[in-house]
Symmetry: C2
Subunit: 356 residues, 2 copies
């Protein structure tokens, strides 16, 4: 088990060694560790190697100049200068919050960025300002629209964080596919099948093979098939893509660049890098924050006391599992599987720092 | 088959006779007919009786004074004065568009409203202003959160309309459940079972009985079950509820009032009426409209040319089915089933107007 602070310091040193500024390295480490604590290890330490390999391949800029290229009272477009996604994303969300201070709401579209970790992190930045935070991003294409076999969209997540008074905040952070890609990889490593409704083969037939993406298969949108509403998941994923890419001038859909160096740079570009979209909404642009947050406590209390189905213990509020994970992992420590540890040992050696 | 104009004039006369102003009656008729044309007959002429019965029961205000009760440069809260939902919704979306003209984006939360027809109608109002339009609403509770058997949420739809240049606009308008409630009613009338994944019985067991809501059952969220991502549909539906009710001061979740007179007024209120949420985003607050809409044409062209799965003919863009329905129905006319026609004949007779 690793202590949070040890992995935070290590991560920070990795990015410092890669040439990131102190400020940027701290932001990046903070987002990686937030993923580990919140139980989304698929976006945690396992990903350091991806960023490191992109840097070795000179496909990512470690000293980006992040700047606003267009704005209105409540909006801005930010260019991430091909930097590490966390840096552009955090700056973009800060701008959204600033805009909201003045105009009631703030909306920022970001282009020329890269994979930014967990979307929930940025949405939660709004909470301490008595604002609702929103974060969307597109991602490299693995997902087919309804009726199609072409990989046209990423798992395009939606995150929304809403403050309460006594209750912990409502934090939804979900991919617009039934499962995250990481779960396919886990099943594949264990030699297990997955349930039907997650992936299809190269002809569009339902599949339970977690390695089907390697033979021309694709992931399905939330809903699974047309009968069960996959066209609604497709709508949602498409909206995330358009808000992230077309407002900002980033690549859309099948042209979003890979977030790993072992996949080649795409031949066709329709914009700059990966795109994100951020929103901040001041509660008091609508209601007195006290009234709103009191009602939010009541909303949470009402939903938490919904009657569980037979065999279930309790009804959850979005954000409950992640908060409980945070509390547990902060106390117990972070577990890294041997393969991830081995990767980090190699990276540490190559960069001349220590990891054990 | 009925001509569009005949049903429009009839609908307008019904609401005039109920005491609505000419302007309001025209708005209401326009939304009803838009639902018919777009192939959402479940929100069309069949619903006139619901509004009529609410009026007879003195549960709806036909001369509402719709007013802004709170605002910031990019936001407003509107009170619908317990009017017919279409009237408050259309006015609210107009305010969102006005706000966007000045601040780049405009966001309006509306309380004390009622059922407003199809959400897509209001989102599409933004298109001719070179804006993206958004519309959300909560609705009377039929849907259980993941792990629960309590009906806590409505089918809470999301509508987003995005303009293109040569291509028709992208218009997504979808309930956050696998199917609309109307489809259960249709299956029930035909004596058919439905697929698993739409509803559960009163203990939380999967059910294929379309009449299960009458014996304590509930609808499921998009995703169907936890394994297939129902918690994501729950997140989405909860976000729609919170944006619609808590920003505005409307009733949330299980307290949203029924949209039909045969269900009793609820004993507990936590706000005023039904809640909606509207957004308008000026394209040029982010990009030159020409650049954006050219890219949108490219986006649509790219997705339309995705490869169909075996046995499928083509890949659709959100809004395609509704637009094709509009073109067909405008030419062929609107078909009303005998039961609906009978209802309208009775309403016409009671109001002293003609319908045949």
């Amino acid at each position: 088990m690793y202590k949070h602070d040890y992995l935070y310091d290590f991560t920070k040193r990795v990015f410092l060694k890669m040439g990131c500024s102190r400020e940027h390295s701290e932001i990046i480490a903070d987002v990686f560790l937030a993923a580990e604590l919140r139980g989304h290890a698929s976006h945690g330490m396992i990903r350091i190697k991806d960023y490191y390999d992109l840097w070795k391949a000179a496909r990512i800029n470690v000293s980006p100049e992040i700047r606003i290229v267009h704005e209105s009272p409540s909006t801005a477009v930010v260019d991430g200068d091909n930097g590490i996604g966390m840096v552009a994303a955090r700056k973009s969300m800060e701008i959204a919050i600033e805009k909201a201070e003045n105009a009631g709401t703030g909306w920022v579209a970001t282009r020329n960025s890269n994979h930014f970790g967990i979307a929930g992190y940025y949405s939660m930045m709004a909470l301490k300002h008595d604002m609702i935070g929103i974060c969307l991003t597109n991602a490299n294409p693995l997902v087919a629209p309804t009726f199609s076999i072409s990989r046209m969209m990423g798992t395009n997540p939606v995150a929304v964080a809403i403050p309460a008074l006594e209750q912990p905040p409502f934090v939804a952070d979900f991919a617009t596919t039934p499962i995250a890609r990481g779960k396919l990889a886990v099943a594949e490593k264990k030699g297990e099948k997955v349930a039907f409704g997650f992936v299809q083969d190269k002809t569009g037939k339902p599949s339970d093979d977690p390695s089907i993406l390697k033979s021309g298969g694709s992931m399905l949108t939330l809903g699974g098939d047309r009968l069960h509403g996959s066209h609604k998941g497709y709508c949602l994923s498409a909206i995330v893509d358009i808000f992230s890419a077309l407002f900002s001038g980033a690549n859309f859909g099948p042209f979003v660049p890979p977030s790993v160096a072992y996949l080649p740079v795409l031949g066709k570009k329709v914009g700059e890098g990966t795109g994100h979209f951020f929103g901040a909404m001041r509660i008091d642009a609508f209601q007195s924050p006290w009234d709103f947050k009191t009602k939010m406590d009541e909303w949470i209390g009402t939903f938490r006391s919904a009657i569980p189905a037979e065999g279930e213990e309790r009804v959850l509020i979005p954000g409950d599992p992640e908060r409980e994970s945070e509390q547990r992992i902060m106390k117990e420590g972070i577990k890294l599987v041997p393969a991830i540890k081995d990767d980090l040992v190699i990276i540490a050696r190559e960069l001349g720092i220590s990891f054990e």
